[in-house]
């Protein structure tokens, strides 16, 4: 299992920031998704009301989750599916391996599934002597490179066409050119088609489980979800318990928002509802369908202040709109779930101690909340997690000491003013036209700018303003109360004076947190 300490997080972030290909790939993909999302959502009448409605569906589902899951199970069983329950990753992988062994499977084809990434299913299958083949093109590339996904929707975002050509060349045993992306795709189609036809078992996740009919819904653009659920004789779907949805009316709202929020498509190319295995008389389809309902720590989030995070439908919109994700990309998060949703969900599933840096991977700008189809308040939860880290002593004592001193200092106006005056003198050698030069050690990528201390402090400006107002008031005989400086002006002044301090404070904090 990974560990993302402040130290490893910063080192990985620096690597990502210094990688020009990764930077342009992430910018390109996320900006395109953002534009397409806006266009796709604009096509829905009353889309904001629809999002409110969707949030209400998700909240109501979680409020009675056990009931909906039991209904889902009942209906899935009635349709002829096998339903399994797994408390943790070990149980879930054992169930899948057991089914594979029962059918003598040596080769498993897998559709893209974040849950299977979460439980490290590939490694477990491999250890059990079963070869898992990822069939989503991006996931396959990542698998061939023995890496982890850079994005929950576009996993191989970080790979160049040259790298892909090299990987495929090794795989097919023939030299392939990097110049022709459609030709590379065609090679993958051919190689993976053989696997689909040869595999004894197909494995997928489930985007939605519809309780009313016991159906699972699979959404893909490439068609791998259809392949793994149609061609092999056995289909296993691993679904997080929070993905259940009461009715088809509700699932339709979910589907209206999912692809639009994710890739900006009206629907993904293939939206498949699977209700049990092939029926008697059906032309084809799997003889057996197994659904693994996976908890993996979700039940412990229910009923806490973080319950909302279980409303997530893994669309990736929060990644695409996050300024921090855009700089550091997926791998830096050290888990299959990255971006703002990963920063909240991963520490909750696997422990704050283990993923201490993730709640800090945010500027708290609020974009994730604004774009989330379920309006999950990720910024609030990021702050709550940070507060919990302090309470639980996850934050290192030196950093806590620095923060406490800063708080104390800010409460002592005269001393603080004195320090500012001193700072104004000592900053002189560091002043450049872009602001303060930041020492290399604190500025690994070389693009960090720190504003200079203002020539006059807020307090000094305030005093001046008050004097001016005083003079003006004496000249005009009106009620004094009405002539106080406007709130807007005060806010602007506070902002102008406090921002440099906060930046300085942050830099100190980052040093303090280093271990």
């Amino acid at each position: 299992m990974n560990e993302v300490s402040f130290h490893t997080f910063r080192a990985d972030a620096a690597l990502a920031i210094a990688n020009p290909h990764l930077q342009s790939a992430v910018d390109g993909a996320t900006l395109k998704f953002r534009d397409d999302r806006l266009r796709a959502l604009a096509d829905l009448p009353d889309v904001e009301a629809m999002r409110d409605h969707f949030k209400a569906i998700r909240a109501a589902t979680l409020a009675n989750l056990s009931e909906h899951l039991e209904q889902f199970e009942r209906q899935a069983l009635a349709a002829g599916a096998h339903v399994h329950w797994a408390r943790d990753a070990a149980e879930a992988t054992q169930i899948v391996i057991g089914i594979a062994r029962q059918h003598g499977a040596r080769l498993a084809v897998k559709a893209k599934s974040m849950t299977s990434e979460e439980i490290h299913l590939n490694a477990a299958l491999h250890d059990a002597g079963i070869t898992p083949i990822e069939t989503d093109l991006g996931e396959w590339i990542v698998q061939l490179a023995a890496e982890t996904p850079a994005h929950i929707v576009v996993p191989a975002l970080h790979k160049t066409r040259q790298q892909v050509a090299e990987l495929f060349t090794r795989e097919v045993g023939r030299p392939l050119s990097a110049d022709d992306i459609p030709a590379l795709t065609e090679e993958a189609r051919r190689a993976l088609r053989e696997k689909f036809l040869a595999a004894e078992i197909g494995i997928s996740g489930a985007n939605i489980g519809v309780a009313e009919t016991g159906s699972i819904v699979l959404v893909t653009n490439e068609g791998n979800g259809r392949m793994v659920s149609s061609v092999p004789p056995v289909h296993v779907a691993v679904m997080g318990v929070e993905k259940v949805c009461p009715t088809w009316d509700d699932a339709a709202v979910w589907l209206e928002l999912l692809a639009r929020s994710s890739t900006g498509q009206p629907l993904s190319v293939y939206t498949t509802a699977i209700t049990g295995p092939a029926r008697d008389g059906d032309a084809d389809g799997p003889r057996e369908l197994h659904i693994v309902l996976y908890d993996g720590g979700r039940s412990s989030i229910l009923g806490t202040g973080y319950e909302e995070v279980l409303q997530c439908i893994r669309c990736g919109a929060c990644l695409n709109h996050c300024p921090v994700y855009q700089e550091i990309a997926g791998q830096t998060y050290g888990h299959a779930y990255s971006g703002p949703i990963g920063a909240v969900l991963v520490p909750l599933l696997h422990g704050l101690e283990q993923y201490e840096a993730l709640p800090h991977a945010s500027s708290l700008c609020g974009a994730c909340l604004e774009v989330c189809p379920a309006r999950i308040d990720l910024p609030r939860m990021l702050l709550d997690l940070r507060a919990e880290e302090v309470a639980r002593g996850v934050i290192a004592p030196p950093e806590q000491a620095i923060e406490k001193s800063a708080a104390w200092l800010l409460g002592h106006r005269r001393l603080f003013g004195l320090l500012l005056d001193t700072g104004r003198i000592f900053q002189r050698p560091l002043v450049s036209k872009d602001g303060l030069r930041v020492p290399r050690r604190l500025n690994p990528a070389g693009d960090r700018r720190l504003p200079t201390l203002a020539p006059r402090s807020f307090h000094a400006l305030w005093d001046e303003l008050a004097t001016e107002e005083e003079a003006a008031l004496e000249a005009i005989p009106v009620k004094r109360a009405a002539r106080k400086p406007s709130r807007g002006r005060i806010a602007a002044l506070i902002g102008a004076s406090v921002v440099p301090l906060v930046v300085l404070w942050h830099l100190l904090r980052r040093r303090g947190g280093r271990r």
Binding site: A29, E186, N221, G223, V231, A252, T272, D295
Partner: protein, 212 residues
């Protein structure tokens, strides 16, 4: 049943908030003047193709045109009512046909080697340019999946506004597999460059016939 099941459900019951009824179903607010026009515009934008035909008989003529233009030699077809009375081999000689559920032989192998697959549709969604196909007797999932071209014969009368209206009017007993297909299979996983035809068909041709 299993301990895991009981433990998970007990944990959920112990923690869930209860109350909070589901909101009344959201009903579609889309209002398309012309479902066929919207369907055609959307699917065309998604790299699909739409051919209009005035009647079922004309749809078969158009199907013949498409098969001829594609130069198909092997075609797999679902056992659709529209084609039930048609002697395929007589009408289109020179093509090896496999009719699902009627023709002997390995369906999967035939699909994997076919030049085109022909299906009907249970519904079509105007908003998203989707064709809804189902599994069943005489209806293979692979016909619309394995061959490089998928030709769907869609009666304009089965057009509905969107997935919300589809869900509201869905069949009470769902078939084992129902898929909404919105254009050809695609990917942009290598350098965000669009490539059509990843695993599924590279072309989706809808022959939309009759009045909507």
């Amino acid at each position: 049943m299993s301990t895991a099941r009981e433990e998970i459900l007990a944990a959920l019951r112990g923690r869930e908030r209860g109350g909070m009824p589901l909101p009344a179903p959201w009903r579609s607010r889309q209002q398309f003047d012309d479902l066929a026009a919207r369907f055609t515009a959307t699917l065309t934008g998604l790299h699909g193709e739409v051919i209009r035909a005035a009647s079922a008989e004309e749809a078969l003529d158009r199907l013949g045109d498409v098969l001829r233009d594609l130069g198909t030699a092997r075609v797999v077809v679902n056992d659709e009512p529209l084609l039930a009375g048609v002697d395929l081999a007589a009408r289109w000689p020179g093509i090896a046909w496999h009719v699902v559920g009627r023709t002997e032989g390995d369906l999967r192998a035939f699909c994997a080697g076919a030049d085109a697959g022909v299906t009907g549709a249970d519904a079509a969604l105007a908003e998203t340019g989707s064709v809804v196909v189902s599994s069943g007797p005489g209806r293979s999932r692979m016909v619309s999946l394995l061959p490089p071209v998928h030709i769907a014969l869609v009666a304009a009368g089965c057009l509905t506004s969107d997935i919300l209206t589809w869900a509201a009017a869905r069949p009470g007993d769902l078939p084992a597999s129902v898929t909404a297909i919105s254009g050809p299979s695609k990917t942009a996983d290598i350098e965000q460059t669009l490539a059509i035809g990843m695993h599924g068909p590279k072309r989706v041709i809808v022959i939309l016939y009759g009045e909507s």
